[in-house]
Every structure is written in C-alpha cells, then in structure tokens.
C-alpha cells in the first residue's frame, strides 16, 4: 500500500492565531481514516490546506506524491472534497451542477457515472430540479455527488452528516463503504463518534492544532477505554471490598465497574455470589470512542 496523503510539519497561522501547530501524519491508500477533535481543533483548517483552499504557513502536504502547492493541478485531480458548509449554486439544476463539476475536472460526457452517483445517493428523481428547491438534506447529498464526479482516489468528507436524517446517513455510509472497498481512500471528520468508531480503521485526534493521538481505532479503544459493567444492587448492599477497586462511578442509580475485557465479567459475578450479594439489574457496555475522546482531550 502506498501513501495516499502525507502531511509533514504543517503549520498554519492566521495572524497571532496558530490554527495548526506542526501537524504530521500519513494516510495509506485504501484507508478509512478519521480526523476527530473538538470545535476549533484545526480539522477543517487541515482539510482546507489539503484541498488547496488555504496555504500552510510552513510544512508540506502531498496527495499520492503530488505536492498540493507546487503540483496543485495533479493533486486536486486526485481529491474529492465534501465541504462542511451547505453551499450551492442557485442558478442550476442538480444535473447541471454535476456536469459543470465534471467539466472543471476535465471530464466531458460523464453522464453514466453521474447517473450512478445520483442513484446511489437517491437523487435520481431530483436530477432536473433547481438547487434552490431542494431540502437541506438533499443539498448535502448533491455536495457529496459533486465531490465524486471525477472518481477521486482520495475522498475527504468534512462533517458530511451534520444535520441530516438517519436515512441519508445510512445510505451515505453504505456508498462510502462500497467506494472504500473498491480502493478509494476516505478521510472523515465528524462529531458523531459512533460513526467514526464504526467506519474508521485509524483515527487521529486533534487538539489545539496538534495531533494528540494517532492509532488504529481498536488500539485507541484498548488504550483509553474499557468495558463498563453497570450493576444495580439491592438497597443497602455495597460491593465486596475485592470489587471496589474496579468501581468507577455511578450512572442511573447503578454502580459502574471498569473491566479490562469481556471475560472479567465472570470473575465479578463469582465474587458477588461468594459474598451473597444479589443483582437486581445488570448492563454491559463495550468500550467506546467517546470515552477515548474525553480522556485524550482532558490530558
């Protein structure tokens, strides 16, 4: 696998504000990569630098070996970017917008692929509708379609599901999984951490313009999260002393125990039985990215 995107020591300053403070990372071809962080962490700035919308103050970015500054035309041909803002051209229909976008990338007679994108994003019925007449969700779909008209090997999705319904989300992710399966590299920023956890094989966490964690999703979950066992005990009963060291708080009137793995549940239940403590209710939660996010950001 080659390197799809190489970001090396990228600094971006807006006056006194340092939006990116030396970001370096590499994304391999065919990866589904997550770029996460709180508002203002620098995700969109980094994507803007990658897409050529902003110019880094220092550092370099390459897309499949092409520098986004010096070799901008080749780099841009390889990228498809879904912008975060819901923007559209009010003069044209959906199909016209997609034809124009194809033409900007030097592709004429692209209607077969445009039809396929429209079908996959459930936009076929709206193909000849003016952009002004579309709902917000439909406009978001067109933004995705516009990013895909030139079949870019690297697709960047900047919060593509912000404010859209469940149906579109599921349809979009199904389509993206298919494209990823066909070899497209996908870079995703989102505030929906469960989406990133489900889709992304590797994740970078950004904070104040720096990468503060970069690893496979599984490794991040293993390092920063754990199974949480919630137990409801009868009134007046407390955990046996041997289990109290696992306690990590309360939620909805239930004791929370932190377990390293699923198998540890059996040991906990055995200790409770030995101590004669009955359980009124029990829930087991797997590790989740939200916990990883909170822990990493609070470090």
């Amino acid at each position: 696998m080659g390197i799809a995107v190489s970001i090396s020591g990228v600094i971006k300053r807006y006056g006194a504000l340092e939006a990116l403070a030396g970001v370096s990372l590499e994304i391999a071809e065919g990866e589904f990569f997550g770029l996460l962080g709180p508002n203002g962490a620098g995700k969109t700035t980094l994507i803007s630098c990658l897409a050529g919308l902003s110019r880094p103050t220092a550092g370099s970015i390459r897309v499949l070996g092409h520098d986004v500054g010096r070799d901008y035309r080749a780099a841009r041909r390889l990228l498809g970017v879904v912008p975060q803002e819901l923007v559209f051209d009010p003069f044209f229909t959906v199909r016209e917008c997609l034809r124009f976008q194809s033409g900007y990338y030097g592709i004429a007679g692209n209607d077969d692929w445009i039809d396929e994108i429209l079908a996959n994003l459930d936009l076929t019925a709206k193909a000849d509708t003016n952009m002004r007449r579309l709902s917000g969700g439909m406009k978001r779909r067109v933004l995705v379609a516009q990013a895909l008209v030139h079949k870019p090997p690297v697709i960047v999705l900047d919060e593509p599901t912000a404010g859209v319904d469940v149906e579109l989300r599921q349809g979009l992710w199904q389509f993206m999984r298919r494209l990823n399966g066909e070899g497209h590299t996908i870079i995703l920023t989102t505030h929906y951490l469960e989406e990133a956890e489900t889709l992304c094989g590797r994740i970078a966490l950004l904070k104040a313009g720096r990468v503060v964690a970069l690893d496979s999703t599984a490794s991040l979950l293993a390092r920063f999260s754990a199974h949480a066992l919630a137990l409801k005990l009868p009134a007046g009963r407390v955990l046996p002393p041997e289990l109290s060291e696992l306690a990590c708080g309360e939620r909805d009137g239930m004791q929370l125990l932190r377990l390293e793995n699923f198998a540890a549940v059996e040991g906990v239940l055995a200790r409770l039985r030995e101590s004669g403590v009955q359980i009124e209710d029990m829930r087991l939660s797997p590790p989740d990215l939200e916990e990883v996010f909170v822990k990493v950001m609070s470090q």
Binding site: L53, A74, G103, A108, Q146
Partner: protein, 250 residues
Amino acid sequence: MIGFLTLLRKELLRFWRVVFQTVAAPVLTALLYLLIFAHVLDAHVAVHGVRYTAFLIPGLVMMQVLQNAFANSSSSLIQSRVTGSIVFLLLPPISYGAFWGAFVLASVIRGLVVGIGVLAVTIWFAPAWPAHPLWALAFAMLGGAVLGTLGVIGGMWAEKFDQLAAFQNFLIMPLTMLSGVFYSIHSLPPFWQAVSHYNPVFYMIDGFRYGFFGVSDVAPERGLAIVAACFVLAGGLTLCLLKQGWKLRT
C-alpha cells in the same frame, strides 16, 4: 481546455437564466437615455458633422458593453464568494489562466449581446450603421475584456455587495459616463480635455465611434494600442492576483 469551456458555458448560462435583468434591463436604460437626450438636443447639436442622435447611439452601445462586461464577472464572483459556492471553482484543477479567460470571455460576450440589443432598438432613431465594423468590433471586444478583467478584480476584492457597488458607482460609472458617451471631448475646456486623455474608457468609446462614422478625437490605431495596453496591464495584474489566491485562498 474542457475546464475553461465548462466554466465559460456556466458563466454564459448564468447570465442567460436571468436575461431580463442582464440584457433587457440595460437595453431599456440605453433606450431611455436616447429618447431623453435626443429629444432635448437633436435639433441643437451636431458632433463631427453627425446628428446628435446618431452620435449618441454608438456611445450608448459601448457604454452598455463596458458596464455589462464589468457587471458580469464582478457579480458572478461576489455572489459565489458570499454564498460560498466559489469552493466549486477552487477545489478543481482549473488553471489561473483558464479561470481568468472564462470569466473575461463570458463578460465580453454578455457585453456584446447587450450592445447588439441596444443597437437593435436605437438604430431606428437615426442612421448609425458601422462604417468600419472591424474597428467597432475590435474596440468593443478589447474594451469589454478590460472591463471584464476589472470585474474579476472587483469581484475578488469586495467582501460584500455594497463594496462592489461602491467600486462600480465610484470608479466604473464615472469612468464610463465621463468618457465622451454623450459628448465629444473637443466640446470640453482644455483642462478637462487633457484629463479625459487619462481615462482609458475615453479611448474605447472614441474608437468604437470611429467604427461607425470614420471620425474620432484620437487616431483609432493609437486608441486601440492604449486599450490593448490597458488590457495587458489589467490582465497581468489579475493573473498575478489569481496565482496568489488573493482574497480567494486564505
């Protein structure tokens, strides 16, 4: 080349979709100018031995060519920037030259369409048919290209619609209105005659009028050279600004 042609087609379709606003309205404005000024002055004034109404027609045609060429590129760019849809042009691999060329050529074409419209509705009022159509066409195209280029600069510079309106009302409009559309500069006092020679739009109007009547305040070759020099300067500046991503890329 496909990128250039696509952007050109998009820009042409954009103004054609609102043809009443972009073509019919300026044609009507020019017609009203002609009706009012011709009614007041035709019996009293002749310029270069030509009836005032006939003298006025090419001036009005060229004024609308220039103003609409500026309006096309500037309004398209400011609208794209304010709505954010400019991103659709910034993400693809369109070269600076193709970007500039498409906007300027679309501006020239809109200017010519409006100019032909103005000529078509005003020609009935006085004999004003081009005696040297190639000279008229050369000045119209080159003048439209200069104003289309200035429109690109204005559209990049302005952050808001009122800033663009200021650019248009306080720079472009005075340059066109004070360029000899309604008069020959020989009718001005010597000081203002001299000042007029620093206004590039004067050469565009004067040269275009030469294409109609074969007479002008300045030799057409000299006028065309000055307009061409303005085009090279404005075009070069615009290409530099586009290459830097001035106001477009942060």
